[in-house]
């Protein structure tokens, strides 16, 4: 029982990372980005290719993060920025990200020939840390540490630094921010780059956990990310971490007390249920209707 709770937290650690990236784009750009699932995949493939070329694991991880960050920025600068300038509706933006998702996914599928690649895990932490009678896999412990650290850094950045305040101004209103002398394009690019990096990190942890990688790995993780931000409240950094851990626990308890068959369905049920009962998430702040 205690061990299973630890398992849930370990599972939730990666989910938190996922949620942090999505909540950042949502908070700053107000876009629900389906292409995020492919940032996860492209980042992990970047790391895989780097490892295969004998790059030390730590640098390979950084390369993967950079790849996903650059892809994310590229998509944003080409498609999204163009649409933002034209004042396209929210729906059109969502649909465009679905289009981008499909393009990136089919390229990844074609390049990997639909195969499941081996993800070398030699350079990643393995084994587990024993605490009393329970044990926590080192890999998940690391991802937990990273997501809490990212949460603190993001929180500090957005609330305490000049750049962070600029980011929040841009999130509030890009034209107003421009008037105040903030370069909103640079801020958008920065937020998108960081969120791409976080996507890659989550994808890399996921690949290291299973020692495999395929072009479609991001799809399920995207749904998880959506569930996390719905649970935690869209745009809430703290909510993303708590939402991730909560989802991990719910999935583990479902597997344990109901059946593993439903651990997947429960994610979607949670999204629907929470949206119906508390549309702003369990930890979100109520938004005023935007007219």
């Amino acid at each position: 029982m205690l061990q299973q709770t630890v398992n849930g937290i370990a599972l939730g650690a990666t989910y938190s990372l996922l949620g942090l990236g999505v909540t950042l784009i949502w908070g700053v750009l107000r876009v629900l980005n389906f292409a995020y699932s492919q940032f996860i995949v492209w980042g992990a493939f970047g790391t895989l290719i780097a490892i295969e070329n004998h790059v030390p694991t730590v640098f390979a991880v950084l390369i993967g993060m950079a790849v996903a960050g650059v892809v994310a920025v590229f998509v944003d600068m080409t498609v999204m920025q163009f649409m933002r300038r034209r004042g396209t509706s929210e729906f059109a933006l969502v649909v465009a990200t679905i289009g981008v998702y499909y393009i990136l996914s089919s390229v990844a599928q074609d390049r990997s020939k639909s195969q499941i690649e081996t993800f070398p895990i030699g350079g990643f932490p393995h084994g587990s840390v024993d605490i009393g009678s329970t044990s926590l896999p080192s890999l998940q412990l690391l991802s937990l540490v990273i997501s809490v650290a990212v949460m603190i850094v993001l929180g500090y950045w957005l609330n305490r630094t000049r750049l962070g305040r600029a980011t929040r101004t841009v999130a509030y209103s890009a034209p107003t921010a421009e008037l105040l002398g903030v370069n909103s394009r640079a801020i958008f690019a920065l937020a998108v780059f960081v969120s791409g990096c976080l996507a890659a990190l989550a994808g890399i942890f996921n690949a290291a956990d299973s020692s495999t990688l395929s072009y479609s790995d991001g799809d399920q993780l995207l749904v998880v990310a959506f569930a996390v931000i719905v649970l935690g409240g869209m745009g809430s950094v703290k909510g993303a971490v708590i939402g991730g851990l909560a989802l991990g626990l719910v999935q583990v308890y479902t597997t344990l007390y109901v059946s593993g068959v439903f651990s997947n369905a429960i994610t979607y049920l949670l999204i629907v249920g929470v949206l119906i009962v508390r549309p702003n998430g369990l930890f979100g702040v109520r938004e005023e209707a935007r007219v």
């Binding site: 195969q115 070398p120 896999p137 956990d209 495999t212 593993g260």
Partner: protein, 404 residues
Amino acid sequence: MRFRTIKIVTALGLVSVLAAACGSSKSSSTPTSAGSSSSALPATIKIGVPLDLTGSSEITGVGTGEWAGVQFAVNQINSSGFLGTSKIDPVMFDTQASKTEAVQRTVELISSDHVSAIVGYSLTPSFLAAGPIAQKDGIPVMAVGLSGAGVTEVGNYIFRELLDYTKLYAFGDPQFVKATHATTAAYLYGSDTVTTSGQYAARRKLLESLGVKTVAVETITAATTDMQAQLTAIKDANPDLLVVNVDTGQVPSVLVQLGESGITAQYLGDTSLGSAVVTGNPAAIKAAQCGLFTTPWVPTSTAGGNPLFVSQWKAANNGQTPDFFDALGRDAMWAMATAIKNANSVNPSQIRDALSQISGFSGALGLYGWNNPAAPGQPTYGGVNEQVQNGQDVPWTSSTTCTK
């Protein structure tokens, strides 16, 4: 360089002619020698090859391997003059693991391309959708690589070359239970595919009939990446055996996380333990140490025409060892060609009759046929037991020892 390739191909062709002449014409009603032309056959014989090459993670290595095997066989058949001056023209479609695609392409193959026979289908659902159409139109099908039940039941025009896996388990599992003196078992299976859930059900029934008590049943789906919760539950149940039937693509994750979990139960797997996805993954194959499985084919098998197949394949593919799906594709196409030769006709119903009479077929899977009246359409080979030891699959007998 080019010349050398041609030479090799020619040499292979000659060798395969000999092999075919020795092995596969036992039941042939027209024992013509391999080189002579058979006038009843047209210059090109169209055979449909619908395979799932892309589309879902379940098809990892399956469709592409089968297609490579089919092409290999077609090259041998055409260059050796096995069908006289007639050549086989494979009409290939990637059915993308989609039933709609499988149905549309099968109708297209039959009504537009007018194929004489079909050698194809990768996943059981694709076949279950498209098979009945071929049956209704009277086109013989050699189903490649389907491991689920309910294939030959579709009708008398349907043949399979891979055993229903439950038959493999019925062969291997009782021996494993006896050797390990196991009394309890835990099961981990993929609940979202018909193949893996069917295999779990059959295996559990079999083991329980052998007196092995079920102490835990855990499931994963294609979306599961982390299985700590399932593995902890299994660990708490402390079983003697851990019986795993999940998609081949997920086996590495199961193995790696199993390795970290501290579970000591004897691993009973399936053919995926011998697949490239596992053997090519250092972390997974290490964690699979001492895992047991039963398979219809291993590269080192000396049954039937396998040694010849392996050496020919290596010669044609830069020394690379063929994998299971290459072997399946190769045998399926050779079996169809043998039936066409024996029928000396491209009439679908005559090909069907010839298929049902093949015996002594010298294939990669052994010396077998499809002529067992008790199991129409099903191949007549058995399985071999294997164990993973130090990154290799080695033949297993009850006296084999293994240390973790």
